[in-house]
Every structure is written in C-alpha cells, then in structure tokens.
Symmetry: C3
Subunit: 345 residues, 3 copies
Amino acid sequence: MAIWEKTMRFLRNVWYAAAWAEQVGEQPIGRTIIEQPVALYRLANGTLVALVDVCPHRFAPLSEGKVIDDALECPYHGLRFGTNGSCVLNPHGPIAAKMNIRSYPVVERHGIVWIWLGRTTSPDQDAIPDLSFMDIVPGRKTVHNYHGTLDFRFDILIDNLLDLSHEDYLHRGNFSGGAGDPPELAVREECSMVVVERTARRMPQRPRYEYIGEHVDVKYVIRWWPNQVFAFERRYSNSDNPEGPSVTARFCHIGTPETEARTHYFHAVTREDRLDDLAVDENIAMISKDVIVGEDGSMLRAIDRRMLGAELMDLNPVILPTDVGGMRARAVMRRLLDYENDLEQ
Amino acid sequence: MAIWEKTMRFLRNVWYAAAWAEQVGEQPIGRTIIEQPVALYRLANGTLVALVDVCPHRFAPLSEGKVIDDALECPYHGLRFGTNGSCVLNPHGPIAAKMNIRSYPVVERHGIVWIWLGRTTSPDQDAIPDLSFMDIVPGRKTVHNYHGTLDFRFDILIDNLLDLSHEDYLHRGNFSGGAGDPPELAVREECSMVVVERTARRMPQRPRYEYIGEHVDVKYVIRWWPNQVFAFERRYSNSDNPEGPSVTARFCHIGTPETEARTHYFHAVTREDRLDDLAVDENIAMISKDVIVGEDGSMLRAIDRRMLGAELMDLNPVILPTDVGGMRARAVMRRLLDYENDLEQ
Amino acid sequence: MAIWEKTMRFLRNVWYAAAWAEQVGEQPIGRTIIEQPVALYRLANGTLVALVDVCPHRFAPLSEGKVIDDALECPYHGLRFGTNGSCVLNPHGPIAAKMNIRSYPVVERHGIVWIWLGRTTSPDQDAIPDLSFMDIVPGRKTVHNYHGTLDFRFDILIDNLLDLSHEDYLHRGNFSGGAGDPPELAVREECSMVVVERTARRMPQRPRYEYIGEHVDVKYVIRWWPNQVFAFERRYSNSDNPEGPSVTARFCHIGTPETEARTHYFHAVTREDRLDDLAVDENIAMISKDVIVGEDGSMLRAIDRRMLGAELMDLNPVILPTDVGGMRARAVMRRLLDYENDLEQ
C-alpha cells in the first residue's frame, strides 16, 4: 500500500461525493479525497473515469495530463493509462505489470459523481444514498454549490448539521426560528443511516408563506449517511389545521473529507417554483456562501483550532439533549471505523 | 485538565498583562495567553470579566458571543455563562455542573488588565508589579502601544531589554549612546524581581536637553518581573554637577507569551510635559512601532528561527559581561519554573 | 556541533555553488545551504569571505551587519569577526576563544562562488567541477540566472535533468524533439561524476539551424556531479554528413540544497554569437524562468508533495530505460552519503 493510499480516521468503504456531475468533463481534474489524490475525467461518450492521480514512475500528477484515445497521458514522461488503470503505452520501452495503476469505481447519480476508494472492486451501488429528490425531472430545479475545501475536520460538521438549534444563535438574522415551544426530536437508525426528525410547533408566520397560517409547524427530516451526506426535508404546515396548505423544501449538504484538516463542501437546493428565474438561483448561491462559508465555516474553523486534532469524545464535552442525532451518528462512525480497522489487521 | 489548559515552558502563577485597560469594553475580545484562549469583557459598571474562551459543549469561541444580562452567551448554541463561569442558562435542557467553565481573576491596575491563569483562586494582588509611575494623575500622560503578537518566543526579549548595549548597534541612528566610557552595571534581585542599574558617564550632550550640560551621565534603572514586565527609568544629569539640572523618563515594555512561538507586545511611555500636544503622542507611537516591530522584532524573529525551539543555555552561548542582568532573570525563571513543575507532580 | 551545523540527507564534503560571482559584493548576503546559514561578502580587494551566519553570543544573523576594517560586525551587539572567523573585537569585554566562529573555504571559479561546508579545512579545489566552458573569454558570453529557492527537495532534480525524455511532454511546445527514432543512451561513471550521452538520430530540421541539413542528429553530453551540478553540451549535426556543418550549445543547471524542502536554482547559458545583442540575453532569461520555474518547478513541487518526504527508492517506483542516468547518480549519492555517515560515527 503506497503512502497516498494510507487512510487514517476516515471510512474507506463508502461512496464519497467527489464532484458535481457538471464539474467533471473531458479535461481531467485533480481532487484529493480521504488523502488520496484522484484524477477524474470523462470519455467523449460521457463515461466517467477515476484514476489514482500519481504516476507510478516518478509520481507526477496525472490530472495535469492530456486524454488521448480515451487514455490519460502522464504530463511528465508520457506513460498512458487506460480507463481501468492499465498502462497502455510506454514510449520508452516495454510495458510491465508494475506500470498499472489503480482505477476507482465511479458512478454518476443524483447529479453527483460518486467514487469508491474502498477495498472491494465491485462495490454495491445500492449503498449510494438515495438523493432522488435532486434528480432532474420536469418541474424541478436543483442549484449546485461547491464551496471548495473548508478549513476544518469533516466530523465537526456532524454536530453542526444534526443539531439545528444553532440556527437561533449562529444564524440569527438569517433563519432564526423565533419564539415557540422547544422542538421535539426523534432519532432512529436504519442500516447505518441516522434519521433525525425535528418538529417545532406553533412557530410565528414564515415570510413568503403567510398563506399557511398564523402559527406554523416546522418539521425537519434530516438523513445522515456515513459518507457525510446530509439530506434535508423541511415542511411548513398550519399548526391549527394539519390538512391545510403546506410547503416543503428539500436540500442537501455534503462534507467529503479531503484530509484530516480540510473538507470539501457541497450544497444543493431544489425547488419546484420560479424555475426560470435566475435571480432565485443567484440568491440561493449567495446565501449558501454567506451562511456556509461565512457563518458555519468560521465557527467550525475556530472549533477545529481549539480541539488541536483530538477526537471530540476524548475531550469530554458537555452533551445536550439536542445532540442526540450527532451522538448517534458518531456512534455509527465509531462502529464502522472499528470494523474497517479490524479488516485491515 | 483540558488541552487548552496545558502549560509548557510558561510560568502560570503570575499576573499576566492581557490588555491595556481601554482595549477591553462591553464587547468581548479573545486573547490567547500562555496558550490558553481567554474571553475578556466588562460589565456595564466597568467590572472586568475573564472566562476561558471555549464553550464546554462544542468548544466554540465564547468571545464571539453577546453579553446578555451580564452573562456571556455562546455564539453557537446559546449557553450562557455568568461572571464566575457558572452556566446560568441552557436553552436546551437542565443546567448541570459540568457546564460551568473556568473564570479567571482579573484586575485593572496601572492602566493594564492583569489576568491570573494559575492554580490559586484567590491570588495575591500585591504580586502585580508596581507600575504606579504610569497611573493617571494630574500633570502626567501615558501613551499606550499594543503591537499585536510578534513572531518570537517571549524569553528572547529578556536578553534584549536587560542588555541595552544593543542600542549602539541595532538602534544606531535611533538612540545610539555615542562615545563615552563603558557603562557601569549593577544587578540585584528582590523577591524574584531583577533590577539592573546601568550608568554611562560623561556622554555627549543629548538633543533637546542641552541645558543639562556639556557632558551627561545617563543612568537607567530597569526592573524586570517574571511575568515579563520591564519598567524603565532613565535619568540624564550633568556629569560635572550632580546637583544640577536633570531630566527623568519612564516607560515600560511587556512581553506576554501568547504561545511558544509568539509574544504579545505592550509598550508605554509616560511624560510630564506637552501633555496636550497630540503630535508628541503620534511621534511616540511611530517610533515605538519603528523600533520595536521594525528593529527589535525583525532581529528577535531571525534569532528565534536560528534557535530552532531550543533553550538558550542548551545552545551554549557566549556570555558577555553585559548579559549579567539577563542571566540573573533567566536564573529566576528557571527556579520558578522548576518550582511550578514540582507543584504539578 | 551546534544545531545549525547538523546535516541530514545532504552530502557535506563537496563544494556547493552558493551564488553567482556577481551576486556577492562588499555588502554581506545571507544564504542557507544544506540547512547551514552562511554570510557571504567580499573584501575591498575582491577576496571572498564566508562565515557562519550566526553570532555565537545571541545567534543574530551576521549577514545583516556591516563590514568594518575587513571584519564583519554583528548587528546586535557589535562583536566583530575577521575573515577566518576569529573574534577581533568585543566592545564589552575581553575576547575569548569561544567567541571565534566557523569560516568556510570559499572559491570563485567559472563565475560561481563555491563554498565548502565539510569537515576538512583545506579541501581540494580540484574537486570543483570543471565548468570552464562558462569562463569569460573573448568571443563568448554567459547569461546567469538565479531563480531563488524552488519548492522541492533537491534530489528530485536528478531524475528530471538526467532524463531528457520529459522534454517531449512537459516542455512540449518549448523544445519538444519531435518524431524520430528513440534516442540512444550511454552512461558512464568517472570518479563520482556521472556522464549521460544521449543521441537522437535523424530528427527534423531545427529552427534557426536549417543550414545544417534536412535531418539532424541531436547529441547531448550531460555531466552530473554529487554537488548537484549539471553541465550540458548539445550538438546538432547533419545526419547524412557527419563532417558537415554543426552547432554546439553549452549550458548548466545547478540545484544547491537549501533545506530538505527547498532548492536554490542556478542556470547559465553560454553563446558565441550575437554577443552584444541584449535582446538575446533577455530572451534567455525569460525562457529560463518560464521553463524552469513555470514548467519544471511546478511539476517537481507537485511530485515533492506526493512523496511526503520519503526517499524515492523507498516508494518502489517504476524504473524506465530512460532512468539509467538518474539511477546511476542516485547510486553514487547513496554510496557517498553512506561513506560520510560512517565518518560521523
């Protein structure tokens, strides 16, 4: 196992979101995921290819090379690698088995390029989270945001996104819930997926949705998967008339680990109205950046610095009732990591 | 003891200068002192508060929160902490003892906010250095400069400030002493304070002070305390007529350790003439920055890099007669650090 | 042995190129070579001086001091050191043997300032590589480029410069060889010097040299020395008429290690035509920067990052036939390093 294939506190045997589908074209891009450099590109027919982004000869970044006849040419000395990682051309001598490199299973689904960095060579695609609410269908639009890599370790995001009580403080002004009874929380686990249901009853009227009623029930269903995908469904309904008008929003956050220190941040919002209004798209992108990079990103960076690389639970933190979802997700992570570490023995 | 309370080669049981009095208001500020993040603010009545700048729940920086009803609200999830560190509000459930955080004794004196990060909870305020020459009294003015954190380890400053012979080289042009007999040095120790008296006799006339005489005696009295406070008194007098006219200047330097790599730098100059002339204030601030940041700061940074984190005495340095003050101060530091380390066992 | 004299994976007992001759004048400059800070300057008569760039008193950078009466004055407290490193003036007391510092043998030859950081005090100047093709003689001109320190470990340059097959890929557009039979390679070793001869036969016409013929033989002779000096001779001749017109270019690359992470890069090109045309000089400088800093520098930096500080051979790289020169040079390095390490025991 080469240095760049060593993993540390990351799960390997999951499908990681590597890019939005439209970020990967025929010109290769390089992205590091759980510390493994990956070159991603498409063949002319759209087929995705993912290769380790390190030439086996002198360790050049293949993602800076050209694709020629569907093969990726090393930008340093011209070795070429086919879509399965086999060396298909050595301009300087015979081809040897040692010149083959690793290719990774890669799948496009729900607008996302998913990559498998784990041990199995034929991983189960059913393990990809069901984000079909983001699929492109008539009457629906999804705005994709990629905020690059943010400056914190990925797991700090679990506590952030599975405990929305921080909205009233960190995001005060952006989408504070306002007064109301404390929300009800229910957490369940389904095959390593954690589902948090959070219902805030009799909240004040929501801007833009006054027609729903004077008091509104706000119900979130948040699904978290161990590949750090978070799918959100938020429903506003009339507190006094559950059968009355309601409105549902769906969006997702994804925090793919780049290294132990930095996290790729993907964010998408779907909608079913004003599809052609580009001002809505721009507004979503702007708020996404303000809130995720500006507010959460700054906070999580400050927290990361204070944790000095330690594990959360080793620091003996206060646990609040609102942490129930995050605690469950961290327990799942711990269980899966222990399992993977046992496999490595 | 949490990670952020661990100390290394710093003394803990001293009063550290955390800020100039006017730097701390009702809006909290965050400052790291001997590697411990601290949130500092004042109540409406002026009372100072110092709390550990880390929420016990998810380690958010409390200094970025709001003060509400004299309590500091965590900017992440809204826990509130009173002036003694007790959790006074948990919006998400019952309050538990584990939610209490550490508050630090904090005192305003001589225009400085002093903080106690040591073990004792009722430390002796008499241990604060007597800098009453900087107190605000009629007919006196003190200009405060804060140069942020400079890029060197705090103890390199000891050798710099207790051996003024570097003025003739590093500060040549700014306030070189010029020709004259070598200065006389006397060093004494008073309860962990080191006093260096340095007298240069029959120096040339001083600019602006020609009335003192053709030849001038320049006498410095420098007092150093183990919290890295350096108080200076400099007297010009007539070499041939000790009872004749003289003029005395008083100022102080303080190098509070932020981390092992960086040092907060405070500098103050008092005067008793031209109190209302703001151009004098500005000139003091400008020279302070030029000399301390530009000349000493660059030199100490270069030295710090060459020492590669080692202790001075472990590098077997040449000791000059002019180092007598610095050597004494370092011996006091060593003795006090050993004593504190014994206490920790 | 002080910290700054510790070496790691660098050879010590070689002459390193420290500067171009014209970079060293009467005002000292500081340069770090194999992690040892060095102060370099000239006496008024042109004699070169090299001293350790660390005062033995408080470790100030001597290269920031003044030269007074041929001695270098410490910019911090004024100790002065003669050209052999002896302390010649202590303004604060008597001179002691401990105040003497190390001076290094230093020689100007072939337009380069060579320094000896090794154990011997009278090293053999014949060990300096013969670069007399760069000497200043009537009818010849040499353009010197110094690209500062580039962001990769020095030894990665060996594989780059001793295997020119990368020209067809990394430098495609700049000086790709174009179609032709694969070059012939011959490697030989002469007393720790490695010579690579590389002949590409029947290449297409070369721009500016159409008069040579329709088909051109391109022969490189590259000499590498363990101080990371690479001398190049490149000859174009008529493939069908070996006795016909030909043209020869000579240039050199030098990669002096600064630290384990960065490398000083020197590049020189000689010519014997258009000596007075400054546009040629400027063009050489521009291409040198584009190719070395822009193309090779970026590539070697990316490779360095992927190697994570490991030794090349420990990463089990693919070896191509074109690597024969680099492999030989690395074997020489390994042998000499082992020999030096044995000496240190």
